[in-house]
Symmetry: C2
Amino acid sequence: MPANNPAIDLDQVRRQCARCDLRDLCLPAGLDSADVDRIDQIVADRTSLASGDTLYHAGSPFRALYVIKSGSLKTQAVSEGGELQILGFHLPGEIMGFDALAGERHQCSAEALEASSVCRLPYAELERISASVPGLQRQFMRLVSREMGDDHDHMAMMGRNQAIARLALFLHSMSKRQARLGRSADQLTLTMSRADLANYLGLVLETVSRLFGRLQDMGVIEVRRREVKILDRESLKSVGEC
Amino acid sequence: MPANNPAIDLDQVRRQCARCDLRDLCLPAGLDSADVDRIDQIVADRTSLASGDTLYHAGSPFRALYVIKSGSLKTQAVSEGGELQILGFHLPGEIMGFDALAGERHQCSAEALEASSVCRLPYAELERISASVPGLQRQFMRLVSREMGDDHDHMAMMGRNQAIARLALFLHSMSKRQARLGRSADQLTLTMSRADLANYLGLVLETVSRLFGRLQDMGVIEVRRREVKILDRESLKSVGEC
DNA sequence: GGCGGGATTTGACCCGCGTCAAAGCGGGTG
DNA sequence: CACCCGCTTTGACGCGGGTCAAATCCCGCC
C-alpha cells in the first residue's frame, strides 16, 4: 500500500466529479471545468451504505441533498393511517432529498437496496454557490423536473387498472433508465424485493409473482428470482398499453 | 366609467402582488416590499381562462410558469399507449409548469375546470432576477417541493387498493387545501367531473358515483352533484385508512 | 455438506370493482 | 316552456386480483 499522502488525497477529493462516470447525468452536466471544481469543493463526503442502511429518515432535519454514485435506493413514506407507500426506486445519477426543500424536514425515508455510495451536498453551500454559477441553477432545475416527470410516469402507471400493464410499464421504464446509465437495456437485475415492487405498483406480492410467471409464459421475458431478461420489447410495450 | 389614465393603470399593474390575497402562498411569501415589486415587474400578464380553456399543451415550447390567481385547473398527460392520465387538480396560489423545466417543452397539458385567472411568469426573467433576490430562490424551491409533496400524496392514495379509501383521502386532502386558502374546510365545491375524478383516482366513474352515495349513507358526507359537505371528519379519516 | 429462515412461488376461494346498459336529472338554447 | 344533450345515478353480472394457506427455493451460516 502506498504511503498516505495528504496532498494527493486532497487532489483526488477535489477532482472526483471531473473523473466521475456520471458527470453527464449529475449536477456538473453542461458546466465548464472551473465550475465543476467549485461543486467538488462543496461535496461534503462520499458515503458508503450497506444494503438496508437508511440515508435519511422521514421527519429528520434537512441539511443536504444526495446524488447516488453507485447502487440503488428506495424512498418511502408512511401515510397518516400508518400505511407504508414506496414512492420510488433511485439509480445512479439521480438526486435525492428534493421533497424536503419545502420545510426543514425530510418528508420520506431513503433506504439502500444494495451496497451503495452517495455524494453529500450540503444545501446551504449549494444555495450559496448557485447564485454565482448560473449553469448550476439550470442543471439543478432540470434534475428536479426530471424527478417530477418520473413521479408523473408512476402516477400514470398506477392509473392503469390492469395489473399486468403496470408490471410491464415498470419493466420498460427500468430498462430505459438502465440504458441511460450505459448498462444493458435487456438484462435487468432488480434490487428490490417482490414486496417492495408490489407496494410500489399498488398490488400484493403474490400478484406480482404470478404476473412475472405469466409474462414469462407469454415469452415476453425470462425471470429467475431478481434477474429479468427482456426477450420481446414490442410485446412488453403492448402489454403495458392494457 | 373613469377616464383611461395610463399612470394609474401602470401603478396598478406594478403593485398587484402586494395587494393580492394570495401573496402569502405565492412567490412573494417572505420577501420584503422592494423584492415583491421586482417580481411584479416581470409578471407578463394576468390571463383569464374560461372553463375548458387550455393554458398550455403537452409538447408546446416552455416559456413561462403560471401562478393560479383564481379558479382551478387540471393537468393531464397522455401515455405512450394513448391513455389519458389526470395528474392533478390545482387551486389558487399553486404554481404550474414545473415539469417542463427539464426540457424545452411542456410534459403535460393544463386545462381550466372553471373560469380562472393566472399570472404569467416568463421563466427567462425569473431566472435573471432570482440570482439577485436570494429569498425568491428559496421560496421558489418551497413551491416546487410542495408540488412534489402533493404528488407523493397522490401516489400514496393510488397505492390504497380499497376504492372508498381513495375517495375519502381525496376529499380529506381537498378539504385541507381549501382551508389553506381561507375557505371553509367542510363545504367543498368540486370543479371536476366524476369522470375526471375517477381518472385521477384510478377508478371508473360509476364506482366514484356509487362511493359518494355510500359515504352519504354512512353519514360521513352530504353530496348533491358537485357540492360536498363533510359531516364527520373523523369517520372520513378512518375510511381513508382502509 | 447440512441446517434455518426469509424470499418467492403456487394453489384455492371469493369479493370488490370494472363492464355494459338504462334511467334520472339539470342546465342551456331556441 | 319544451326540447336536447351531457352529466350523474342506479342496476345486474362476471372476472381480476386480493386473501389465506402451504410448498418450494435459495442463500448465508455453522
